[in-house]
Symmetry: C2
Amino acid sequence: MNVTGHTRRPASIRDVATAAGVSYQTVSRVINGHPSVKPSTRERVLAAIDELGFRRNATALALASGRTRAVTVLTANTTHYGYASILQGIEEAARAASYAVGIGVLESADEAAVAAEVQRAADAGGGLIVIAYDPAGVRALGAVPAELPVVGVVETPATPPDPGHPWVWADDREAAYQATRHLLALGHETVHYVAIPSSTRRTSARTTGWRQALKEAGAPEPRPVQGSWGPAGGHAAGRRLAKDPAVTAILCGNDDLALGVLRALHESGRSVPGEVSVAGFDDAPHSAYLTPSLTTVRLDFTGLGRSAFALLHGVLEESARIAPHPVSVPELVVRESSGPPPAHD
Amino acid sequence: MNVTGHTRRPASIRDVATAAGVSYQTVSRVINGHPSVKPSTRERVLAAIDELGFRRNATALALASGRTRAVTVLTANTTHYGYASILQGIEEAARAASYAVGIGVLESADEAAVAAEVQRAADAGGGLIVIAYDPAGVRALGAVPAELPVVGVVETPATPPDPGHPWVWADDREAAYQATRHLLALGHETVHYVAIPSSTRRTSARTTGWRQALKEAGAPEPRPVQGSWGPAGGHAAGRRLAKDPAVTAILCGNDDLALGVLRALHESGRSVPGEVSVAGFDDAPHSAYLTPSLTTVRLDFTGLGRSAFALLHGVLEESARIAPHPVSVPELVVRESSGPPPAHD
DNA sequence: GCGCCTTGTGTGACCGGTCACATTCATGCC
DNA sequence: GGCATGAATGTGACCGGTCACACAAGGCGC
């Protein structure tokens, strides 16, 4: 119990040492669990630590040893459900491993801005996790200097990445494949796709899965409609699709886009799922409560975040390396927004 | 340009010093903008800095000077729209001031767990921002040792807080007041309220605003229905309210609750806004795209986050103290979910 | 009884910065 | 000319830990 008034600076190992009548090095040994310390000495030191309320200074530890026990998450956004959930998952795992979690937002995808953010993150020391679902994130992941430990949370890669690239991903492609097959199985001639902005120039994993399902079913492949991330983009895309009476099934790159599409269909007087079926992606918490409730594919973002941290943890400390890429399995959730196409054709 | 291979450890001020032919202290002076350095010397040092790609080591800076330039945000959740937006606002302002942002999630409101999280945050050094909208946050804010610089993001306090308590808030009470008056002005006899969990034992600010509007209008005051944070809670509350034919207007503690209420009304066959009007709180991005689109009160969470950081920044560095509590003004957004009560009565 | 290994502990340097103070030299003033 | 003043720079200690090494005491083999 420390009853002295005054804001005194926190106790250091030397304070503890004098209080326990040992050298500071012995204190260091005790707090690091070094074996060769006499039990009676250890007791005395522990008592002194308790008495003075000693806590090891993280800054000094980092400076002296290089071990930082910190991770910085680089992301373009913190408010989108998927991003926020990944962050939450990372924090959860990091907390369990008593790592500190820092966050840097990539406000612009501009080359220089991204580089500056990466630098800032590097300055923080410790490892990096980059959420690379969008151009800013992808660019950031590419801009990380090779000597920095980094894990990327990415879209399903087209080909297995080099072992030198520690990446995690949810199986986007499989998820899109499942959702598309679900819609086709209901009897729709084809499925239109409202895409999220692709993270790279190349086609996104979600698009690939959708395309694959269409191809297997011999369904015609309409041009994907480019959306944005939020419901506004879905709304705009939905307006265009609503005009075409041939459109009876729409897969959306995420639940927010789907929401916008639903709204646009409603405004155009086209009923869901009577005339048009809609499926989303992610299973955001509100999707189950929409009217009509949204058919979607659930991705375990929190788990993905945990995996990302686990992978980074493995890179930073040689203990407990995990399996190469722990991919979580997407789960189709069928709700009200999907059904058979209108009877007549 | 550093073309040497090998992962060499980053250049320190002494490396720069020898490269420039000066002492390390002179380098320190240059990077800190100390006035009395001969221009020619400064030039040489800057050139060396550039050449070696020197970056000041944040850890060493923190250890030696005590200045940490970091802020840790303590929050119960990162995925809810309001929380995530506040975080985004804090990060934005912190980035502008080149502060690092850390995050700690209060997974449980349990006394010991909260205390541990606060300790962890304290270990990170720098300032603290606690989002205290819920029991876990409130408890955390209370558990912060007095000597730590901390800013609370709180509900509108009932009475002006002591100057010793640097807090920021959006005007919840005014927002609830506005929304309630809007519904009453449409002709509803009274307005029912589905509450978010109160952060404290005492009545929440939102409840107070609602109550005040009812009282001023001489409307009867129904018992508030206790909800949770997510749509599920709203759904449960909505089910109960839907059974009572006297209920024609419902104000919800946030947009997620409102979503659940809308869904429950729909399931009970009560039309919105024909039979029942619903208003939310926060103006989450999806609220405008619901069917019916949601009448709500927009709160500037991002701005609130920026204010929180600005206040903390003022506490940490004596430069540029800001006005006591910069309260952002809520804005009523009227959409489809509110309208006059059913004609007959 | 000597050397040697193991156990328990202490000493000094170091991580990369900052701070307080000392030093040098040019200048201005009386 | 002597001396205070200020500009420009350097030196040593320090922040709070860790690391490499030294060293004393005790047990064991021969």
